[in-house]
Every structure is written in C-alpha cells, then in structure tokens.
Assembly symmetry: C2
Homo-oligomer: 191 residues x 2
C-alpha cells in the first residue's frame, strides 16, 4: 500500500530521526515513491539532505580520540563515546576499488573498521592482536560506508570491539577486533 | 661454539641459499659474529647483499597475476605460482606507521597479505569473503615484511589462502583468507 503525502511525511520524519544517515534513494525505495518525491517532501518539511545531516551529527561534541591522532582514523568519525561505541563514514572512491570491476578492496573496509576499533579505546596505546572479519556484500566506488563499533570488555583486561559496516541499510562487513591496551603491553605480553 | 672463517663460510652460503631474503643482521646473530664479518664473508664469496638477492629473485619468471593488475598488489611480488604459493615484500615506511610510536598500522599488513591472497588465485575474479588474522609482533617503520601465501583448496570449490608474514626470521602476522572465485559469484552465492 502506498501512503499519500499526508500519511507519508510524518513517517518520513520519524524514519530520518531514527537513522540520520539514510539516503534519499533508500527512503524512496522504503516508501515506494520516486527519489524526486522524497526530495520534495524534505523541502516541504525543511529537512536537510543526508550530507548536511551527517555534518550536523559530526559537529556535535563527541569524546576526543585517545589512542591515535584523529587524522589517522580511516574515514570520518561522526560519533564516539570512549570504551563504548563509535561511528565513522568512508566514501568509497575509485582509488579504493579494483580497477576492473569497481568493487571496493577489502583492506579499505578493514582499515576503516580497524582504525575505528583503535579510536574507540580509552587508552593512549591500543593495538590490534587478532581479528575475524567477514565481507558480506560487495561495496562499489560511489558507496558510502557507515561503520559502527561497539566495545565489549572481555576477560583478563582485554577488550573486544565489534564493528558492523553498512551501505544504506545493508550490512556489508562485520569484524571482531581483539585489542591490547597499554598496560598489557608494558607487562610484555605483546613483544 | 663460534666457527672460524673456513667453517663458517660454507655454512653461510648454505644459509643464504635456503633463505635468500635473510639480512646481514640476522646472519650475524645466527653465526654470533659482527655484521662487518658477514659483509666481509659475502665479499670474499662474491655473494651480493640482500637487496640485490631479492631483485634477482624478482627478475626470475613467475606466473602472471590474473585476478588483478599487478600494480594493485600491495608490496612487490617476488615469486608466484598460481593456485599454489606467492611471496611479496613490503618495506614499512613512516607513512605506514602510527606517528606516535612508529608501529606499523595493522591494515597495511592486512592489505599486503590480502592482496597477495587475491593475486595467487588462478581466476579472473577473486573476492575475499572472510579472514581471520593475527598480529603476532609489532612491526616498525624501517622493517621489511616478507609475506608468504599458500593455497589450500577447500571443500565446495572454495579456496583458503594462508599467509604468514615475517620480519627477518620472526613471524609478525598470520592470516587465513577465504576466497570466492568467479564461478561461485556467477551462481549468485555472493550477492
């Protein structure tokens, strides 16, 4: 069933509030209307486009990254609470993709997720010791990848960070990163 | 027990034949002599230095990479037999390392290993679906990382590639990469 404009617009606002990173394309396919219709809805309701919404989120305060200078994070951090969660965005360009088929190269998705896992740790030094990663769907040049990291404190002072990366609503990558913090390194566990 | 020169030199030649990538430093510590002694031994025996030996290996014929243009491999391939094994070398520079502590960033080791795993596949299209990786020791700017990939054909037409990366004789990284080849992709298993 298609909603009419009066029914659709409040739902649209709700949907965008739930997920500020949702694109017009994704909204159009969710509401089964054209992208143009979504744009008109946004204009009428004065909701900025997704790039502007992302910038808004990015301008909000978030915890400062400790384990590395922020410019060493691959992708742009848009939210972060130390030892809890973090979100970053990476726009896949041609240089991130295989020249033959424009599929994003796995190590860039790995780099975004791994550097986010390092960034979220509340310690001056955080090192990755192990990772299990899974490439769920192909990502292409032009796609915007949103990585979400969640921290799970593990036994023996170790920390696991789980990262899930999405293009639109689709899971494209997931990874579990096992992190060492400075205090273990000083004890020489990782030498 | 330290060998004298007459005892040491044949052993040295043997050691270098076994592992052409071994450095003078590693040889010095193996024979418990100074690096200078190793250099003199090499000069007397007319054995080129490690950089030259690596170039020699690199100039030998190896199978052409199929799954991607060779310049898209991270590191320099020095040997490759399709669907069997491959070796690449990556010199870690400051830009590959954390600015704070000069430790190589994990995603560069991952990128070297993963692109080697793609390169070794005898197919026009090879994609990584999963990987388990382990960062065994810290690698620093200035280190030369030698990655060795071995192919294990797995069940159901899938292929696993195991990669071990070394600095000198020390294992610094290991990874198991699960690869899809074109025929599975065409069947839509990865969509």
């Amino acid at each position: 069933m298609k909603w009419n404009k009066r029914q659709r617009q409040p739902k649209l606002r709700e949907k965008i509030e739930e997920d500020p990173f949702i694109t017009d394309d994704a909204l159009a396919s969710f509401f089964d209307v054209s992208v143009q219709t979504i744009r008109l809805d946004r204009l009428e309701m004065n909701i900025p486009e997704v790039r502007e919404r992302i910038k808004d989120v990015a301008q909000k305060q978030y915890d400062p990254v400790k384990a590395l200078p922020e410019e060493e994070v691959i992708g742009d951090i848009v939210d972060l609470e130390l030892d809890s969660y973090a979100i970053s965005i990476l726009d896949i360009k041609e240089e991130h993709a295989f020249s033959r088929n424009h599929i994003a190269r796995g190590h860039h998705l790995f780099a975004q997720a791994n550097s986010l896992a390092v960034a979220v740790i509340d310690d001056e030094l955080a090192l990755t010791t192990e990772a299990e990663v899974s490439f769920k769907r192909q990502v292409y040049a032009g796609d915007r990848v949103i990585a979400k990291a969640r921290v799970n404190k593990a036994a023996q002072n170790r920390t696991h960070v789980n990262v899930e990366s999405f293009v639109g609503q689709k899971l494209v990558f997931s990874g579990s990163f096992h992190m060492f913090r400075e205090d273990q390194v000083e004890k020489g566990e990782l030498s």
